[in-house]
């Protein structure tokens, strides 16, 4: 007896299998969605907080989503059930007493006894009378509600990142605007230093010009926070200032002014007139030789009158040198020694004269010519002054870049507020006194053209002075803090360092003899580097 066809059974089973696959796809999609959400959140968090970037771009998000969907599809295909499996499942769910399973199994053998045919017939009849595909529901899995968690997390992360980056962008623009002026000035200084270095053929100035240019670029590149930008500018300027000071140390210790004064003093006496003439001519080697010749005469003591003249000339020169206030350290020592020699024996006087001759010879044997050294030193001094002015917020360029009357282009000057009387108490409301506001002090200094060749006298009511900071010789503490933007670690480290060093700095400020006008700048400088609470 032939087994009857089981089309209706197969139709039901296939429909059930489709529903099973759909349900499996939904479930897998939800699971893959949760997984993709977790991946996106972790990826976004790493990008946002560890790498400081936007959490993700649309391509990445779309890629993860598509990948999850494709993976879910592949899983659904891989786990697609066979018809006997579906039959077993439908039989259990529908309490059909294994009619699907039996019909499917018996239909494989076409002729195997009358009872089998009867069994298949009965199964087909039973299946045809019912709707069994509905036994397998297709509905959204309960786990789908958990998808809200990654969705909300992703949305919050994206929102926070957008807000944060927009604020940072604004800060960066403001910070760049804040440092732009300083950077432009630094570039101007760099150009002028470059020009000067070409004229004087000085490598040091060339390096300095390059350093200035680099500092300007770094200042622009690192400008992300307006407050930090200001500090960063100050740091850059301080570093440049220190660099210039270090370079200054290698320059000759006697300035041209001192040299002129010495030549003038020596010229007043007949015996040392020859040395003075050579010194004025700029030939220090010949000047030293002439001086030694005069000393030789003094030692031979052949001519009492000449000896006395030379001694007197030297003493006069030393006295005049000692009266000069702009003496360098080396010249001060020499003057002091000669002053003592003037009061003692002639042997001591001649010893001091020997030292003077030796110093002149050393200067003559310098690596670069005296004229270029002098030019370099002047340029560096002017550069240093310009940097100090920039640091203190002074020397804003005039509109049009033209100097004010009474000022000389190509020089950087700071006007003394004491008007020649350091002990004078300023009257209340005096506009010439520091107002406490940045840039409001009456300062005639300018950085427009700090490398001018001529120096003119300052205004009638003011005394022009060049103030050059100098590294102290006492104990110092330097500490480098690794900083990465707003890293709290570096902030904390800086705060600790500041608290440790602030008392010492305050004590130094109180003890040192600081001009009244500069005290405010120093105070403001320490205020600016004070860490924020």
């Amino acid at each position: 007896m032939k087994t009857p066809p089981i089309d209706v059974v197969l139709r039901n089973l296939r429909a059930a299998r489709r529903r099973l696959s759909s349900q499996l796809l939904l479930t897998t999609l939800v699971k893959m969605g949760l997984l993709a959400g977790a991946v996106l959140v972790i990826f976004g968090a790493v990008n946002r907080w560890l790498l400081g970037r936007m959490p993700w771009d649309p391509q990445v998000a779309a890629g993860v989503g598509i990948g999850a969907a494709v993976f879910a599809l592949l899983i659904m295909i891989a786990r697609r059930r066979s018809l006997p499996e579906v039959a077993g499942l439908v039989d259990r769910l529908g309490e059909t007493r294994d009619r699907f399973l039996t019909a499917l199994d018996f239909s494989k053998t076409q002729d195997d006894g009358p009872m089998r045919a009867m069994a298949v017939e009965e199964c087909v009849r039973f299946v045809g009378a019912g709707k069994f595909a509905q036994l397998i529901p297709v509905r959204v899995p309960r786990e789908a509600i958990y998808l809200l968690v990654p969705i909300v997390a992703v949305a919050l992360l994206q929102w926070e990142a957008r807000e944060s980056f927009a604020a940072r962008q604004t800060e960066t623009v403001a910070a760049r605007a804040a440092v732009e002026d300083t950077a432009r000035k630094l570039e101007e200084l760099a150009r002028q230093a470059e020009k000067t270095s070409e004229e004087s053929k000085s490598d040091e100035l060339k390096k300095l010009a390059e350093q200035l240019q680099r500092s300007a670029e770094e200042l622009r590149a690192n400008a992300t926070n307006p407050e930090e930008a200001e500090k960063s500018a100050l740091r850059e300027i301080s570093a440049l200032e220190q660099l210039v000071q270090e370079m200054q140390k290698s320059t000759p210790s006697v300035t041209p002014e001192e040299m002129k004064a010495l030549a003038k003093a020596l010229a007043e006496n007949e015996a040392t007139k020859e040395a003075a003439a050579e010194m004025s001519a700029g030939d220090l080697a010949k000047a030293a030789a002439a001086l030694e010749k005069a000393l030789q005469k003094l030692e031979e003591n052949k001519d009492e009158r000449t000896s006395e003249e030379i001694k007197k000339a030297l003493e006069d020169a030393v006295k005049k040198l000692a009266d000069q206030k702009q003496l360098s350290e080396a010249m001060q020592k020499l003057a002091e020694q000669m002053r003592k020699a003037g009061a003692g024996k002639s042997g001591q006087s001649s010893e001091a004269a020997k030292q003077l001759a030796q110093m002149l010879r050393q200067m003559a044997q310098g690596k670069t010519g005296q004229s270029s050294d002098s030019q370099n030193a002047q340029a560096m001094q002017q550069l240093l002054s310009a940097l100090q002015n920039m640091k203190f917020g002074e020397g804003q360029p005039q509109p049009g870049g033209q100097p004010q009357p009474g000022q000389t282009p190509g020089i950087v000057m700071m006007e003394s507020f004491g008007k020649g009387d350091p002990g004078a108490v300023p009257a209340p409301g005096d506009p010439q006194q520091p107002s406490g506001q940045p840039g409001s002090e009456r300062d005639t200094g300018t950085t427009d053209t700090p490398f001018g060749k001529d120096r003119v006298k300052p205004g009638e009511n003011a005394q022009a002075q060049q103030i050059a900071g100098r590294q102290g010789e006492g104990q110092s503490l330097q500490q480098s803090l690794t900083s990465a933007g707003d890293s709290s670690k570096s902030n904390r480290g800086y705060k600790d360092l500041y608290e440790a060093m602030a008392p010492a700095a305050q004590e130094a400020v109180l003890q040192e003899n600081i001009p009244l006008g500069s005290r405010f700048f120093i105070k403001r400088y320490f205020e600016s580097i004070r860490p924020k609470e």
Partner: protein
């Protein structure tokens, strides 16, 4: 091969006979429907039944009623410690013919009946108990070197008391395995007791009608049962159930692994399938389902599972093991 309409008629006849015999038996038995159905399933499957229950629950009555309903020869053996094998299977006796010539003549014992009630089988010695082994499995007995066939159908219904264990001899595993089903006769409920009292203390007694005409009819019905087909997956399910009772098999349930010393034999699987076929026919189906197998599992497997010492000490019974296995394979 029987053609389809005839087969359909036979299955109809089977269902009718089964139902009528059950109804007749239920006239005498109160509240023991599952036991009655179990006995009938074993009867139509050609197996023997071990009834376990305290005295007075109607075990003997059940067997007697069955014999009356199916119109078969019935005998009863009360097992006692001094009962000898010959008392069961029969013996050769000297007989004298008309000419005065003497010869040995076989005197059949009570086992020569269609339905044998072995009452309190665990009270006899193992030697006597084993006298039933050959009869139950081979359907013949050997006395004095001569084999004597038993009449068909042959059914042994043994009873045992689970409480009075003193002076008893528990049945050996080999003999237990020969029982198709082990049925537990539960104590009746209060309502059932009312009915029992009403029926047994009244003047009129219910009359049992004979449902079947001859023993041959029983044999034919048994043939119908064996024709019921089953799918391969259903057979696999039965095999899995049996294998799950073996602690060493991978299908073993946790309880079986812990408390079972030895699981069910292949006779257990045979019993499952045959009982499943009868359940399918009774359910108007021509195929066996897994539910049919599950329905027969406790009665077919409970006496074939041997608990280990730990299982005995813990008070676990085999029904718990079977329940866990059924739950495990319920999907």
């Amino acid at each position: 091969m029987t053609d389809s309409p005839n087969l359909e008629k036979q299955t109809e006849q089977f269902r009718a006979s089964f139902t009528r015999v059950r109804d007749e038996m239920m006239k005498m038995m109160v509240g023991q429907k599952s036991v009655v159905e179990g006995v009938l399933v074993a009867f139509f499957a050609g197996g023997h039944v071990l009834l376990e229950g305290v005295p007075g629950l109607g075990k003997t009555m059940l067997v007697r009623t069955l014999a009356e309903a199916v119109n078969l020869k019935f005998s009863r053996v009360q097992f006692t410690p001094d009962l000898m094998p010959a008392d069961i299977v029969g013996t050769n006796m000297i007989a004298e013919d008309e000419n005065g010539k003497k010869s040995f003549q076989f005197q059949p014992g009570p086992v020569f009946a269609n339905i044998v009630l072995a009452d309190e089988i665990n009270r006899a010695t193992p030697k006597t108990q084993s006298a039933l082994l050959e009869a139950m499995q081979e359907h013949h007995v050997t006395v004095g070197g001569t084999q004597h066939r038993l009449e068909q159908p042959f059914l042994v219904l043994a009873t045992q008391n689970p409480l009075e264990m003193e002076g008893t001899y528990p049945l050996p595993e080999a003999q237990l395995d020969r029982f198709f089903f082990k049925l537990k006769v539960a104590f009746p409920t209060a309502d059932d007791l009312h009915t029992i009292l009403d029926r047994t203390t009244a003047r009129e007694h219910p009359e049992i009608r004979k449902v079947l005409a001859s023993p041959q009819e029983v044999v034919e019905l048994r043939e119908v049962v064996r024709q019921v087909p089953l799918a391969k997956d259903v057979q696999t399910h039965a095999i899995n159930l049996v294998l799950a009772t073996h602690p060493s098999e991978k299908q073993a349930s946790p309880l079986a692994k812990k408390y079972v010393r030895y699981g069910a034999s292949p006779r257990g699987a045979q019993a499952l399938i045959l009982a499943g076929k009868i359940h399918a026919l009774l359910d108007n189906r021509y195929h066996v389902s897994r539910a049919d197998i599950d329905q027969a599992a406790p009665a077919a497997l409970r006496h074939r599972i041997l608990l280990n010492f730990e299982g005995e000490a813990e008070g676990t019974n085999t029904d718990e093991v079977i329940a866990e296995i059924l739950k495990q394979y319920a999907g």
